[in-house]
Subunit: 500 residues, 2 copies
Amino acid sequence: MTKAEHPRASGRSPRGGPPAWRGVVWPLLISAVALGALIAVLGFGLGTPEDLPGAASPDATTGGGTHPSETILRVTCALAAVAAVAALGGRLARRLGQPPVIGEIAAGLLLGPSALAGLVPASTEVFFPESARPLLSLLAQVGLILFMFAVGSEFDVAELRRSGRVVGVVSQASMVVPFVLGALSALVVYREFAADGIGFIPFAIFLGTAMSITAFPVLARIVQESGLARRPLGTMAMACAAACDVIAWCTLALAMAVAGSGGPWGAVGTVLLAAAVTVVVLRVGRPLVRAAERWADRAQVPVAARVVFLLLLAFSLARLTDVMGVHAIFGAFLAGLLVPHRPGNRMTAVQTGIDSLNRKLLLPLFFVTVGMTVDLTAVTGRAGLLLAGVLVLVVAVVGKLAGTAVTARSAGLPWRTSLGLGVLLNARGVTEIVVLRAGLEAGLINQNAFTVLVVMAVVTTVMTGPALDLLKLSHRRTSAAPGAETASPVTGDAKEKELV
Amino acid sequence: MTKAEHPRASGRSPRGGPPAWRGVVWPLLISAVALGALIAVLGFGLGTPEDLPGAASPDATTGGGTHPSETILRVTCALAAVAAVAALGGRLARRLGQPPVIGEIAAGLLLGPSALAGLVPASTEVFFPESARPLLSLLAQVGLILFMFAVGSEFDVAELRRSGRVVGVVSQASMVVPFVLGALSALVVYREFAADGIGFIPFAIFLGTAMSITAFPVLARIVQESGLARRPLGTMAMACAAACDVIAWCTLALAMAVAGSGGPWGAVGTVLLAAAVTVVVLRVGRPLVRAAERWADRAQVPVAARVVFLLLLAFSLARLTDVMGVHAIFGAFLAGLLVPHRPGNRMTAVQTGIDSLNRKLLLPLFFVTVGMTVDLTAVTGRAGLLLAGVLVLVVAVVGKLAGTAVTARSAGLPWRTSLGLGVLLNARGVTEIVVLRAGLEAGLINQNAFTVLVVMAVVTTVMTGPALDLLKLSHRRTSAAPGAETASPVTGDAKEKELV
């Protein structure tokens, strides 16, 4: 959806017109009715759970004509319900001046064992019905891979090269300080947070990485909405975030490699293999993909074939890195680097179409999955976990915010700008969630650590907006001016996105 | 894809320029390379079949991070391979002056046990890998439901009402004559063709229906490409085909109802229920859906929400008719009637987008599935089956062609036009395949009957073009004139489609 179609989406709070709550009543009512209808349909027309083998059994989907239509409807209903709840959460978050992803994760938390599923266990049957669960998990994974693919496509290597010395110094410091502090805090929380049987080294590398993440997409959105896109603070923050992204993906891959391979030599082998694959894919793949793209334009290859090509590219590289022992998200990101967004390009138009549907349908499924795996009630009762959580939060904020601000100040920037840069880079948002989920799946952290770190990611993202206001660095009033709409190519891409 | 992007798609044979075979070499070479790469990837990187529980086991997709990326890649590879082979078959068929769907079914036949899978059994592992089969079957079913949804959306009730007395008489005759002949021939082939345990009545109704089918989408395409779209013969054929469609769906539903319910009273109940549901859905549903559409336009509902709405509509009505004991395709068709195509409408744009992707990706999966279930080698060796096949073919052609032509002549049309009408209505194409598959799934006909009837459908469709040429009714030369491009609203919709 373009901006022109949805004028109220552009600001963090509505200016003039009806009060903010009015815009929430309708979506709430519609969602309530839709949910009620869904529950009724699921309960009434679809049969009882015992005669619903669904997708889990191969016989049910291949044989007979009865079961496929049922599985298809159940999966679509669950998808629709999750997408509706996520859209509602995202809309509420935007009204409160927060990035929509916060609302989506909050919606997931509310549906999960922390709230709704804890109180009414039967509600899980609506959002994640037993029979549709394998397919829904698969779709959530597809959503994650396609999201990382889009992040790779939007990653602007040229922009990074253009940025100056200050960006180089600040971005390194804004990675190193929280990384070291995070790795040190691993000494304290290792017993509480590490998954069973994981060594200290990979756990420390992972915790350091988790502390030093900056969410590039969320940052781009915040910069855009604070009217900072064309100011030095905004562009510098974006360049630093891009540099941080690259380093963070490397350290995360290192943690995965060390954890996955039995000993240090295995880790070295995996790292070397990953590096070699990255170089080969980028050096050999880029010209090949570019040639294929040119051929496709000349031969007027239809949209469907381009969709298949992009999906195959993303999924095969994701599978490759998965087989190598680093997570599927790296391959998807690599695949994205092979097909960078180019304005006016036909392939980019197809990519944008895939991405826009993915962000609204499949990616919310991933976030709701994350929210549903987080059980806040398991954490609140235990003092040790709470203390560890507070420590993690303090280390994350101090390391990122103070580390960045002090380095920027000593590089010659004024104090207010330095602090602003620290505040901006402290937003962890989507990227942190993706990293944490990968760490949980790779057996680097346990369920409690996952819960605590998700809360940390949400808190550091939520505090960005108010902190900018506090520093009087937000230029929101001016963002309505037409000039701000056509900011930099980087944010121009991000601005169209509703989610981040 | 629009016509402007693919100029060569408009004619049944290229006019001027390089010879026809030149356009086939490249796609063939590319497909061969792509297939080789696919087989290599599937054999090398994806692991051995024994450690691939895939989508069939719930643990594999929900637990761990390794299996999902594998299932996703396998399904996408199979989808890409099937879509590529189908596109190639469709393109070859077009070069030979045939509707593309003939090429897609032929591709499926060649991949199936009749040819490739019979000679090289391992090839099935590429197109329908064991681990991905449940998901691929599900996707083929989705493709079928979405296709029937599109057929319903394009169905022009108003056009049908406008057509005059001749159309009414001819369409009834062109249904009744082959239906009665088909039902009578059931006396001969019942022993050979009926599935185990099915009564004579439902079998005879089904065989009569199968004989009297006219493929509306294929016909629209043939009319368009023969330059007949704005001539009386073309519009009359289209109106007759639309009327035939309605009657055929009703008799098919009757056959299903009689077969599904134990006795005659059950059948009456099912028929009454189906009729009631149809009336309620159309009477109550149409204004509701129209109101929802208007609200969506006012509230600027994004594309993703519209996609979900349309999918839920199609899948829930498909599920409803499936539960009722008539096939899922009826519900999908009904759902299509609720959201008719309107030029310039936003919902229609979304529907067209879904349909265009579906026709290129998921629907070919359905046709290839059909092709792979057909085993010509099982039929060729048996004299009884061959004789029954010839009988079926003769009855189908004579009933439809002669029945229509004689009625049209006696209604006052000249002989050549009457014969032309008979030839056009004899094309059975896609619709027949869908009906046959439904009959096979509902246990009305056996595997051999399915094979023979598929061959009948292909032959009656293939003969349409040459027969029109023989009657010198084809105005292909004039179809390049600009006037022919903006024919009637019915064919205007169909013209954009590549498949039918």
